[in-house]
């Protein structure tokens, strides 16, 4: 049953993509959305069914469904265990190339979220993209994206993961540049593609390292064998750390973390449903999924974990600061996405199971409320005739009541106001960071690990807890997490503030004003766009309460893959101090935004003037694009110009006609010998035989 569902889930979107690609332009035309909507819907139903039909027992190896075995040249015995033998010569990694699907609790959680959001976005897009010239092309690529993302999540080995990692990147590129006639859109697509290559390079290196180290890229052989990882951690910790950092580099690129976050805000040039689906809810969380999936590796590489936490924390704060001053509604949300992804990495970086579970939970809730916010922004954009600059419109509450209410729910969830979903997930992460920061107060219980009665939990904690209190940065781990906690709390405050700044600027802020582009028929969006908003806002409002700490359903389910999560989160419970602090801080943020932006006032302007340099820093996104332009792009362009010159002079001029023509020149040398004279050929054969004979005989004696 589970196997059947696992096969069906990627099949529907693939079929939808093919049908739309083949029949879209000629026959489907205005109905091109149907295959994708139906395909995603069926996938979504199957994913929900799959949630409950996988055997979700902790510690048990999941048997992947092998769809297609391309090549397998390994000894059969390697199938059951890793061949890792550090330093042993003559142990070559086997080559086992296949497409297989692995449905465990981690991937089914992702699947359920992914297919559900994808279905809603597809419905929404049928309204949003209505009348577009390339209607069918849009849906065809969306179908391809959903398929690729499903395959990414279901991958049972790193190689397949990498392939579909690239595939979703390709779809992202195609969709960002969907309106390729617009130069900005084409440039943004290019930027996303190029920046992602940097991360992918790291990821590919990581996969190679895993392959040469473990002799396999199968999850079961790499991640499923704790003995091999422990052996590696004790014999060659640097290799393990390097592997983790390489994988994390891939995550930095895909999940738009500092310093590679610059592509995501530009990616907002794509159609808004794409921003909601790919650049908020699903694809950008692939990096989080990757790191969560590789938990067994990261847990034994504390240095890499601290690095993850640090990058996550820095990104969260930096992006929140930038979001403060952005005037483009979608860009505010884009930076907010970057910031929230930073939060997830912060949770992953704590290394405690609670933090990892919290990150995954935040991933799911974030998918709902951020997709909701983006779709709400799209609804506004739709009504405003494509204008998304918040200075061009205000006071839209009366005009767009449904969008207003749903956007408010999403904003509250993002701000982390209890009891909406964002509160629960963000709080879990902050609680986990807090735990790390205060680990040394309770040395008796060995760091973050509680005294678990259960032997199994004890074992899993023995490996996770008590990391060395010295990090690779020379700062005490406890101190570092102490900073990160306050940094996270500050970010929570900023998040609440900028979210409601955007909210008030759009829906309040004085008398109604619509831009000229909207014409006179500015109106609420059609039901096909509003209904998905309501469904998503239901998720955004209730998910935290239903699945979060209060019930423990999410952690309990996920502990099928992340062993011991249920016990860990049960032990920890909810940290009410942290929860209270973050709620109060969020409330202050909302209140401040209320005061400053509810009605037009002079406060924001005066405040901005007061904080002059900082405002400019934020407005210009910390000049990071400029910095990259000066230090990376321009030098690279210079290098490119130099290379062109060099290429012209040396490579084309000397190298190509010289060295690379060497084969041709070498080929020309014996040309006179190829003279067509049969006597000569016979002589050459004779001579060659003689020379060979002479050479080998002289060696003999």
């Amino acid at each position: 049953m589970a196997d059947m569902l696992t096969r069906l889930i990627p099949l529907f979107p693939l079929l939808a993509c093919l049908i739309t690609a083949v029949a879209g332009a000629k026959w489907l035309k205005e109905k091109s959305h149907w295959p994708v909507v139906i395909g995603c819907g069926l996938s979504s139903l199957c994913s929900l069914a799959l949630l409950f039909s996988i055997p979700n027992t902790p510690g048990e190896q999941v048997q992947p469904v092998v769809l297609y075995q391309w090549m397998q040249i390994v000894e059969p015995k390697i199938e059951n265990g890793p061949v890792y033998a550090p330093g042993a010569e003559g142990v070559s990694p086997g080559l086992d190339l296949k497409i297989s699907l692995r449905a465990d609790s981690l991937s089914t959680t992702m699947l359920a979220m992914l297919t559900f959001v994808a279905t809603l976005v597809a419905v929404y897009a049928s309204g949003y993209m209505h009348g577009d010239r390339a209607y069918w092309r849009f849906f065809s690529i969306v179908g391809l994206f959903v398929f690729s993302m499903i395959m990414l999540v279901l991958s049972a080995n790193f190689l397949q993961l990498f392939v579909f990692w690239e595939a979703v990147g390709l779809c992202s590129y195609l969709l960002i540049g969907f309106w390729y006639e617009k130069p900005e859109a084409a440039a943004a697509g290019m930027k996303a593609f190029v920046v992602n290559r940097i991360g992918d390079f790291g990821f590919a290196t990581g996969v190679f390292l895993i392959w040469t180290t473990f002799g396999s890229t199968e999850f079961s052989a790499v991640l499923g064998d704790s003995a091999a990882i422990a052996k590696l951690a004790s014999t060659n910790p640097y290799l393990l750390t390097t592997i983790c950092l390489c994988l994390f580099t891939g995550a930095i690129g895909k999940s738009a973390q500092f310093p590679l976050h610059v592509w995501l805000p530009d990616a907002m040039e794509g159609p808004t449903p794409v921003s909601a689906l790919i650049h908020a809810a699903t694809m950008v969380t692939a990096g989080v999924y990757l790191v969560a999936r590789c938990t067994p590796l990261f847990q034994l590489a504390p240095d890499a974990q601290v690095f993850v936490a640090l990058i996550g924390g820095i990104t969260a704060l930096l992006a929140a600061l930038i979001a403060l001053t952005q005037n483009d509604l979608k860009r505010v949300l884009a930076y907010s996405t970057v910031s929230q992804l930073g939060f997830m990495f912060l949770g992953l970086g704590t290394g405690s199971l609670v933090g990892i579970g919290g990150a995954m939970f935040h991933l799911v809730t974030h998918a709902f409320f951020k997709a909701l916010l983006f779709l709400g922004a799209g609804s506004v954009m739709h009504a405003m005739g494509g204008v998304i600059d918040m200075r061009e419109f205000r006071g839209l509450k009366r005009l767009m009541p449904q969008t207003h209410t749903t956007f408010l729910i999403g904003a509250l969830a993002l701000a982390g106001i209890p009891p909406l979903s964002g509160f629960w997930s963000k709080d879990t992460i902050l609680g986990a960071v807090y735990e790390q920061a205060h680990a040394h107060h309770e040395p008796a219980v060995a760091g973050a690990a509680p005294t678990a009665t259960d032997e199994h939990a004890d074992e899993s904690h023995a490996t996770t807890s008590a990391p060395p209190d010295k990090t690779m940065f020379g700062v005490s781990r406890v101190k570092l997490f102490g900073w990160l906690y306050w940094l996270g709390t500050l970010t929570a405050f900023l998040t609440a503030f900028y979210t409601f700044r955007a909210f008030f600027l759009t829906f309040y802020g004085g008398p109604e004003k619509v831009p000229h582009a909207a014409g006179h028929h500015a109106h609420e969006s059609p039901p096909s766009m509003c209904n998905p908003l309501w469904i998503l806002s239901g998720g955004a409002a209730l998910l935290g309460l239903l699945l979060g700490h209060m019930t423990g359903i999410f952690d309990g389910y996920l502990s099928g893959t992340i062993d011991g999560l249920k016990e860990a989160s049960h032990e920890h419970g909810i940290n009410w101090l942290v929860a209270a602090v973050s709620s109060v801080v969020a409330a202050i943020g909302v209140g401040l935004a209320w005061v400053m932006y509810k009605e037009p006032s002079a406060i924001p302007g005066r405040l901005a003037a007061l904080a002059g340099p900082f405002t400019r820093l934020s407005e210009h996104r910390f000049y990071l694009d400029e910095v990259y332009s000066v230090f990376v792009v321009k030098p690279l362009q210079g290098l490119a110009h130099f290379s062109r010159f060099f290429d012209w002079l040396f490579v084309d001029g000397l190298f190509v006609t010289g060295v690379s023509k060497l084969p041709a020149v070498l080929g020309r040398l014996p040309r006179p010998i190829q003279n067509g004279l049969v006597q000569f050929y016979a002589l050459a054969m004779m001579l060659a035989t003689a020379v060979l004979m002479w050479a080998l005989l002289s060696k003999q004696t």
Binding site: I73, I78, P663, A664, G667, Q674, A688, L696
Partner: protein, 531 residues
């Protein structure tokens, strides 16, 4: 006796059928009659082969010996032979051309190829190689009646008999050295002399005679493989003759040479492994580099493919260098390390390469036959410019063949190169007491091979670029021959399948490599027990 009979029966049937065709040629020249009949004969032979493989899974008698690899090879030969005959149905020939003789000779030639793979005796081996050569001479002569074609036929004839003489001379030396022409007997004698089980026994240096024999045998077979510097005939003959004949020359003698080496190595080379390894290393390096560099300069399609086939022979010889090394390990009682990657051994890798190369070659020449007309063959590479516009399907098929030859995954050419290079890198050298490192010569050879693959990529991709990225130069060429078209498509499907599902072939070769090694060890063990 019954073993010999069951092995030989399919070959005898094929030979008799060939002879009957020659006879029947007197009564009819109907191509539509002989072509399908020839394919039918091949099907019957395949069925007989299957029957004999049921009777005899592994083993043989005095003069012939069959086994899993041999049978696999024979099935592949029959399939490719059927494709070649299918192509020939599209050939347009003048009236009164000897059709029966044409197909009779094709069948005899295929029979020779099958016989090489079962030969277990020096004389048998030599005669079956001649059974390939002699029909080839006639086919070359029958192909076209212009002066260039005649010149090509004569050139091939003279140089071929010259090389056959060298081969025979080498085989005679082996006979002189061991007093037998039978492989097992030769192996026993050589093992006793040069590779005894007893570690304290005095092992003489391989005698001068052995080295001379090996060099001569290699010279003779190198001609069939078109290895540098025995390749001179190839470009001239390919260019001079028709696309159909060039296709036969590109596949049949090469397959015969490879399978002949496969039979010889490990049987008649015991004790000369070091020499054989050096010989194969040198020839492989020179052949790859020479073939690829010369192919870069060519503007005639068939000439370019001739040099490319030379280069492919070089890659296949890498596997034999590894094969020699594996045999030497085997005889000195060490593990051959064959399959450190779970890969088949070196010689098996070469066979895989041969399969990938043959399918692509047959397909490629089939496409050239389809695109060519009498008097308007595809000559210059510009004749293929913009083919994708006029013949999209054939263009795609050609691109598949060329990509496969260039070694682009996931096509079979990639697996061939991969396994050959991997086998070269699996050769380890003992360092100190327990340590191992890459054998430098083999590592260098693998690097040379990879560089050559890059050079090879240039001219294959240049051709693909011409086909796909350029506008056609003239009006679309008239083409014809549904059967050549069909043969090309079948080969294309074969290429795709082999590339996407390489597992069975790999597994088969790996398994049979294991069996072959066991038999070899067993044979050595028995021989050492002899007084």
């Amino acid at each position: 006796m019954s073993e010999t009979f069951s092995i030989l029966l399919p070959h005898v049937v094929l030979a008799v059928a060939g002879a009957l065709f020659l006879l029947a040629g007197t009564f009819s020249i109907n191509r539509r009659l002989f072509g399908p009949a020839a394919i039918g004969v091949l099907a019957v032979v395949g069925w007989l082969l299957y029957g004999s493989s049921l009777v005899l899974a592994e083993g043989g008698a005095i003069a012939v010996r069959s086994g899993a690899i041999t049978q696999g090879f024979q099935y592949c030969c029959l399939a490719l032979g059927a494709l070649i005959i299918l192509q020939s149905l599209s050939l347009q020939q003048e009236a009164n051309s000897p059709t029966g003789e044409f197909y009779g000779l094709l069948l005899l030639l295929l029979d020779g190829l099958l016989l090489v793979s079962v030969a277990n005796d020096l004389i048998m081996l030599f005669l079956s190689l001649e059974l390939i050569s002699i029909p080839t001479y006639v086919l070359l002569y029958l192909g076209r009646k212009d002066q260039r074609s005649q010149e090509a036929a004569v050139k091939y004839f003279l140089l071929s008999i010259f090389s056959a003489a060298m081969l025979l001379y080498g085989l005679a030396f082996i006979y002189g050295l061991t007093g037998s022409t039978q492989f097992d007997a030769i192996q026993n004698v050589l093992t006793e002399t040069y590779a005894p089980r007893d570690p304290d026994a005095l092992v003489p240096n391989p005698s001068i005679l052995g080295v001379v024999a090996l060099v001569l045998i290699f010279a003779g077979i190198s001609f069939k493989l078109a290895a540098v510097p025995f390749h001179f005939y190839a470009p001239d003959v390919y260019e001079g003759t028709s696309a159909f004949n060039a296709g036969i020359l590109a596949v049949v003698p090469k397959a015969a040479g490879i399978i002949a080496l496969f039979r010889l190595v490990g049987h008649v080379t015991v004790g000369f492994e070091g020499t054989g390894q050096q010989l194969a290393l040198i020839l492989a390096g020179v052949t790859m580099t020479g073939g690829n560099c010369l192919a870069l300069l060519q503007t005639n399609v068939r000439r370019m493919l001739a040099y490319s086939s030379v280069a492919h022979a070089g890659y296949m010889l890498i596997g034999f260098a590894v094969g020699f090394w594996e045999q030497s390990q085997l005889h000195s009682g060490l593990s051959a390390n064959a399959g450190s990657l779970g890969l088949p051994g070196g010689m098996q890798a070469s066979l895989l390469y041969l399969l990938a190369y043959s399918v692509a070659s047959v397909g490629l020449f089939g496409a050239l036959i389809y695109l060519g007309r009498p008097g308007r063959q595809i000559e210059h590479i510009d004749d293929l410019t913009g083919l994708a516009k006029s013949q999209p399907i054939v263009a795609i098929a050609m691109a598949l063949f060329l990509f496969s030859m260039a070694g682009i995954p996931p096509l079979p050419g990639f697996w061939g190169k991969f396994s050959v290079f991997a086998s070269a890198l699996s050769v380890k050298q003992a360092v100190g007491e327990f340590g191992f490192q890459l054998h430098p010569a083999f590592a260098v050879l693998a690097v040379v091979g990879v560089l050559n693959a890059a050079i090879g990529g240039v001219y294959y991709l240049r051709l693909i670029a011409l086909i796909f990225l350029h506008e056609p130069l003239g009006a679309p060429r008239p083409t014809g021959g549904r059967s050549a078209y069909a043969a090309t498509l079948i080969a294309a499907v074969g290429v795709v399948l082999l590339g996407l599902v390489p597992g069975p072939v790999f597994h088969f070769l790996q398994k049979s490599a294991g069996t072959a090694n066991q038999t070899a060890t067993a044979a050595t063990a028995t021989s050492s027990e002899l007084p």
